[in-house]
Subunit: 345 residues, 4 copies
């Protein structure tokens, strides 16, 4: 099988290549770029090696469709919504890492993204690829909307509580911390080393476009869920997201009950690891890997539950989960091509 990576000169694109070039069912990875036609990938990313023959091809739909079975989009907003329909019409499967197809309601998209939404019919066609909770639909997907980095960490952390109606519906607060690679490779003052190093910043307060994505899924799980508070902070590190999630328990609980619930919920989930009592994951413990590690606390003084969920934003939060969804779509083992341990320290 041949696959295409569109947007190979971004961080998610080059991470896709890291996993797919050794994937046992992938014969060839073709790389496409809108601007660097004919250049070697190693000119943008010397770490990929000068002699690997990774050449960037021109983004011509006909040729992409002719040469590939599955196309991954790791592109800025608006690219995939335009090109995916053309590929799908030709029978190509599309896995979109951008946010173009994640929201079912185009008006919600336009409100939060402040740009035109994709075509309505394709928004409905798209399957939301939160691998652990949507496997049945993902298996049948032709257009897969790969979740955002923050929603992945948050939703995996909240799923057991929300699905089982254990928390007050208006009580969810998510305080998320992210490494800087989530902002991509485009240089800006906000990602300038001297501004970010030795610094913590909050950004897009109450305005992050991942809020409706999270709420959409929560409401599918439990229609009573109310709007959430979701804050995002930039941390002086490259990779990693920690979502610290707070919610009020509806009734008095015990930590043991909660841990049992989480361990059962994720029993068959290869990439979700629930920590034991009193243990909480750090972002570095999933570095470079597709794991989502989760720790839970219950405070008897306040009746509040704290869930700590960590991922590598470029792996489980982007390229890794995309490959996981690719595996599910193809009926392969979910961990094909993803059997890498976290790099520590």
């Amino acid at each position: 099988m041949n696959i295409a990576i569109i947007g190979a000169t971004g961080y998610s694109g080059v991470e896709l290549l890291r996993f797919l070039q050794h994937h046992p069912h992938v014969e060839r990875c073709h790389l496409y770029s809108s601007s660097q036609d004919g250049m070697a990938l190693s000119q943008s990313f010397p770490h990929t090696g000068e002699n690997r023959g990774n050449v960037l091809r021109k983004m011509a739909i006909e040729q992409i469709a002719a040469a590939n079975d599955v196309v991954f989009f790791a592109t800025p907003p608006g690219v995939s919504s335009e090109l995916s329909p053309l590929l799908i019409e030709k029978g190509i499967k599309v896995i979109d890492l951008s946010g173009d197809f994640r929201l079912k309601d185009g008006t919600v998209y336009e409100k939060w993204y402040k740009r035109p939404a994709a075509e309505h019919s394709y928004l409905q066609k798209a399957v939301y690829g939160l691998s652990e909770w949507n496997r049945t639909e993902i298996r049948k997907a032709q257009l897969l909307a790969n979740p955002g980095c923050y929603p992945t960490a948050t939703l995996l952390g909240l799923a057991p509580l929300v699905q089982n109606g254990l928390i007050e519906e208006q009580s969810i607060i998510v305080d998320a911390k992210s490494g800087v690679s989530g902002a991509g490779r485009k240089a800006s003052l906000n990602t300038h080393f001297s501004e970010i190093n030795e610094n913590v910043k909050i950004y897009k307060v109450n305005e992050h476009q991942h809020i409706p994505e999270i709420e959409q899924m929560l409401k599918l799980w439990n229609e009573h869920i109310q709007p959430i508070t979701f804050s995002t902070h930039l941390i002086p590190m490259t990779r990693g997201i920690m979502a610290t999630i707070y919610a009020q328990a509806k009734v008095e609980l015990s930590l043991e009950t909660l841990l049992d619930l989480y361990k059962t919920s994720y029993e068959t989930a290869h990439f979700v690891r629930v920590r034991n009592s009193g243990q909480f994951p750090a972002t570095k413990e999933v570095y470079g890997s597709n794991y989502c590690d989760i720790g839970i606390a219950y405070d008897e003084r306040t009746g509040r539950i704290t869930v700590v969920s960590v991922i590598d934003n470029l792996v489980k939060g982007a390229a890794g989960q995309a490959v996981q969804n690719f595996n599910v779509m193809m009926g392969w083992n979910e961990s094909e091509g993803l059997k890498v341990a976290p790099i520590y320290p």
Copy 2:
């Protein structure tokens, strides 16, 4: 006036020296250490200069009392509670940067600190030195309990809301992020570079000893306040604390109302700077200085208020606020010795 710094080989101690050595009303700074009698400070801290004559003296109470007017303790738990009474009996004023005298109730201290509390009468005698809100008492203090780093950022962020009864009393959640210098200079696996760099950790979940300190003050301001949720995260940076504070508004509010309230509340507070609408402070914007910068958001979707409060944990969170309290105690201008701009970038 001569002052003593006990615990001069720790980070807070050496920061005290940075401010006090140029303080216009301080003639001499005497440094004391329990173990390094006769050694130069520059052996521990070469940045202080080999030729400055900063010699570490032996910790002998009689001599300390004879040579100094005010004594600063920047020591591990248990040192100040033992030595301060001896100094106070001799008429010396004490400013304690440790947590020994912050909690009025010894049993609460013993529960959270898991060690014996200071003598009851001294706990009552001690004045809690949150400079901006306790000036009247601080002026008369002989034993000053300098606030913890997290409580300083949190209490300055919450004061206007709590004092004015604007928020649901059981709704306070504080998600705090701290640089590593708060853990002091003692080497441990938790402060080992390779473990902390490119990493975010949560620690002491629901168990941090600063929780009762915060709650004690909140309840003094508003007796209806319920137990809070307070989480602490270690960030891969040396200095800085950001407290992201969430609380539910009792009635519908506007951001303008909130900003007005904060700007009025801190109108005469030299070291508290309230950001304008839509602006939020980053920790680096107070680096090395005694400022506490505050930004506020109100989310109409949820009726929730978000307050972002940042300090340099070693300055406003320790040595700087101690000097500020020293100034208040002596009747001087609050900013004497503290007129340093943040270092940026």
Copy 3:
């Protein structure tokens, strides 16, 4: 006295303000910017405070000359070479932090900077402001060329060896490591956090424009000095330069002789601190301060001398040394406005 800072929205500009706003002989600091006429400095740099009244003025030569006694340029290449002559004609003194006037030979400038040189007569008029070694000339300067960051660390480290003819003239190798703030505030892939964090890069190998600046001064001290090897590395930190300097001793020496020489050479230099035998400075030990700290080793196995010289690139390597030169030019104490201890940790 009133002073002007041209280029106040860059890192060196805002550092100049940090030192000059508390300078005992400066009444007013006027800030100028080519593009942000009328805006508050706090919009670019919130750490400076919203209520300080630091407004950016338009860069109009007449008004600048009318309102100021001394003008500091902290501007990109080419600005000062154009504007300084106009100011000097009006009797204003100019301190230029850019590289426009550092090289006496315009053809050398054009070769290394790859842009047109300043006017010949002004190149000759300009005084090179390596404060410790050029005081006599600096006192009389009307146009002061403030040294580059790398040359400052390197020349202070080499001066005693070169002036006294102790080393083989063709043997000098300087391996320099710098924090990222030296690249300024303009965003680029080379200063993008995710590219720089957890990384070391070498750049401009054998091509750095500071090479001729260093060689020009070395040859003034000792005409036999041959071309040097000078390498620059980008380190994942914001501030600090370490120059590790290697040179072959002409005759067998002892470490004691070398330390004596350095201590004597810098006996009256307030801002140069020579470490004792076996001690070497780290960049953090001068953080935020105007010090240059130096350590020396002599290897009997090879007859090679190693000198380690560290500065804060934005202070002694830019704004701090500019203020030091300002003090010398005005006949004041060299440390006025610069009495800040390094911030540690």
Copy 4:
């Protein structure tokens, strides 16, 4: 085949596990620890997963020999020199990542390491495992001394120049920069986050124990090589070594000649990648992988060659090269178990 990792709770040990647990020819990895008998590895390293059954076993030589075919030592000095002979007598192959067997001359070891050397006969028996240049001997080795991190980067960078007699024999200067993980996992002030972050330090000036290791190999290649100057700097990052190597060309050369020489020298070396003209590697470009990337410059002004050689100190500088040597010893493909791309960014 079963293998043993002794010292599995250190950084090199856990990196060995990362590579060996997926190695196609390894059936079982047994982990041994001197102190944590019976404990799960996940208690020390949560990133390895709680459910992997990685249990730490007691260090009993009989059982180790009975259960394993090859034993890897990733231990502090002195452990391997004591235990390896016992294993070798039983026919077990040993790969030692410590420095115990790297130097042929015990007196040299004792001078630089300041501790007793291993037994003379075993020092002679040990094969130095610089994979690229010692394959023939490594194939026959029963006791393999895996090179140090600094020597690996330095020797791979110098080999073509030294073997071909292109440089002045007394002119070699190596300025090396290392991430902090090279210091291991033991907490100390020198690896304390607040001391290392935003800092560069030089250490062990002219005294590093890797100096004789480098010189021993250089002299085997070219008996005329004189003592070298070798400096080591601690950089605020976790992984990565850059060796910037300076040497004087014997005759005038061209960059093309040098690049040809290096590309030819490493034509069949899977893990050495020579950059093209004008390109230099950064440490992040080999992060987590077994590559050594090399860039070369020639300065016509000075006749000096600069070689830049980068590795991941825990991979090519420790565990990765050990696995590479394991492959060579067993007659397998050199890259088995090591086919991981660098993680970028």
